[in-house]
Subunit: 230 residues, 4 copies
Amino acid sequence: MNITSNNTTMIRYIQNNLQLTNHIKHSIILIYEYLFIFLNMSDSKTKRLHQIFDATLQLTGKVGIAGLKMSSIAKEASIATGTLYIYFKNKEELLNALYFKLQNESAPAIIQDIHHLAINIQLYKMWKIALERLVDNNLRIVFLEQFVISPYISESNKKIDIGFKNYLKQILEQGKSENLIKNLDNDMLISLIIGFVRSFSTHIVNDRNGCLSEKSIDESFSLCWNAIKM
Amino acid sequence: MNITSNNTTMIRYIQNNLQLTNHIKHSIILIYEYLFIFLNMSDSKTKRLHQIFDATLQLTGKVGIAGLKMSSIAKEASIATGTLYIYFKNKEELLNALYFKLQNESAPAIIQDIHHLAINIQLYKMWKIALERLVDNNLRIVFLEQFVISPYISESNKKIDIGFKNYLKQILEQGKSENLIKNLDNDMLISLIIGFVRSFSTHIVNDRNGCLSEKSIDESFSLCWNAIKM
Amino acid sequence: MNITSNNTTMIRYIQNNLQLTNHIKHSIILIYEYLFIFLNMSDSKTKRLHQIFDATLQLTGKVGIAGLKMSSIAKEASIATGTLYIYFKNKEELLNALYFKLQNESAPAIIQDIHHLAINIQLYKMWKIALERLVDNNLRIVFLEQFVISPYISESNKKIDIGFKNYLKQILEQGKSENLIKNLDNDMLISLIIGFVRSFSTHIVNDRNGCLSEKSIDESFSLCWNAIKM
Amino acid sequence: MNITSNNTTMIRYIQNNLQLTNHIKHSIILIYEYLFIFLNMSDSKTKRLHQIFDATLQLTGKVGIAGLKMSSIAKEASIATGTLYIYFKNKEELLNALYFKLQNESAPAIIQDIHHLAINIQLYKMWKIALERLVDNNLRIVFLEQFVISPYISESNKKIDIGFKNYLKQILEQGKSENLIKNLDNDMLISLIIGFVRSFSTHIVNDRNGCLSEKSIDESFSLCWNAIKM
DNA sequence: GATGAATGAGCATTCATTCAT
DNA sequence: CATGAATGAATGCTCATTCAT
């Protein structure tokens, strides 16, 4: 079966045939739908979309969602204002599409096949990847945090949320069952991990010029692990 | 000398006569300017200002700074649009005034005379106060985070920053000197503490309906302390 | 009962208490609703609305609905563009409101208590009034004819249609029963009357500078009557 | 001489050599210019033009000239937007060309050699042809009426006007001289005839699904004739 | 002071037109 | 020639700000 062949067929295939939990099926479908759009696009279109998304992220970092103008986005992306409206129906849809993209990109990049490793190693790997990614593209956080309470977010996008959190939960549960992680409320543990990684990456970006040393990664993970380990 | 007499005179007095470090002088002047506004106001005016600030915070929580309209703020505050312009020169000044108010409220409320207590007790008290305050008024964070990268923030306000961080630093240094706290970069430790407290308070507000139990406070602090303690 | 007191109450009153046919009830309600809006408006608002409607009619006559710009309407009405949006949600609603007004104005002005007169006298009076009105405000026709096939017309407005036609039908039926009018399809007779009066009034306006003599009225009615009389 | 050879030569030839009144010369030149375009075209081009004109008429009937978009016309004609600009310099020229075509088609089709017949027979034949044509293509009226007051009409096209009216005048004059038709202002008589035929044809199209019976033609003509006959 | 209708600059969006393929 | 994505000027609409009451 060809991923580019037919969208509906593929989704039905995923739903009916794969031996997976509903939760994972759902994630795969979301990601698939997103990829489908890109896979069925010519290179030039994909490139154009990336230009637009990049421009939007850059500008959000500078002026916030409150300061975003369609004309500025176009200028930053080196295209005409009207061109934006070929790719997106309006400003709202552009921002929602970017949100959707960012939400779905985070999970696949972080989640890898590391189930066989010890929990602390798994967590370390995730910590490292997340921290590096966030430092590398801190604008992502800025955009996401602003967008969710902006007037532009659609009802459907409000519901899309973060495979990352769910994945973390699974690891934490595993850790608890192996008596490696404190038997505390998952949401509290997740708040610590995500709050710390976001806050620390923002600090690295703003005050350290984006320089993230191995030592910083190790030390920060060590702090985190000391907090949650049994 | 009367605090309400004359703004400029007072500021000059602080700058020239008090035997303080520049840093502390600066803080005092900022706080003084802020108080000056309120002290010179009739009760009805102060009440009006609180209505306006409240309305702005509420709306920021709903629609973000991107969605704030002067007319909405007026409506939410149950006054006429024109009235806003009696109290503030324009939208920018309204938002900057609110930012200034929030920034300066946080420190005094949290920082109390707890120097004599053990470091972990000091930290516990701060943790508890901060968490309770953030849960109580989570909109504060939403506003602050959005405002600092909005197109409205003034250059002067960008520099105003967080007595809270400085105060934390002092405690952490004291803890390190007493070999109670890990000898790690302060910014990393602070990222953990602030990131966790913000993230956790947001979780409590959004998913727990704002209900913060003593148990949650204790458990979360315990997590935090386990991370940073020697 | 006060006409300005309560809209819903009044409409219910018309529907439940008046001894009228449904058709007439419906017409009265439509007209009532329209009047209600004006009666509950301050003089300045009513004046503003008339300015806007006048400006729109004038411009439609000059450039057609295709050439109407909100900025031009505002300029012609000597108000700011933004002001239009205080009175109407958007261009579409402005045009629909004008259409509704024109549709409902025509009937009351023409239809008077002339039931007791001979059919040809009734028709003559109607002819005279209609012709004079159309000559006086030919822009009305221009607007109405363009609007009904413009992209702006709302579904609800498509259904509102012409008490005038229905009133004509009643007179024609009466005339037929008295053997004064040819026993032909009403729609054909109405096409003759309305087609002639519109076409003739347009001619008077365009080629005669709007000068309508009594002689022209009498001669044209005579033509019309000769056509349809037994 | 070949009609397709050279446009300017031909026009000069008409102007200098033919023994005709200026008025008729002018008409011939207009018609010639129009034919010239078609005669010099390959079949595929002519077909393309008809597609474009048809599409434009259809759309004008649906959304009025106000709602016409070049992209919609192209879509309706099943061609690319850019192709429109191969055939017409711009939107204005497209619409003017259609107007010109419609104006010049009407006269030749209706005016035939019927001078030898009795006036009422001549009028009946014209009535029948006009009514059938209008019912058959009611969109023509819609387009013409909107176009003449649209911002697109060119100055030259404003002057092109209706051989039909002139032809009617001739017949009416003849009728008057034979004491068959009332001695009234021609414009009034023409208003009756044209107003009625347009209004009635619109009724047939909108309310009778375009079904025009012989009886309707006869009855309507009879009405018309009764009005104007002596 | 307080009001909220009016203003018009500024931004979102449309669509006639172009041009590389 | 035909195409349709790209363009940006033109237009619809919003909302911070003003000002007569």
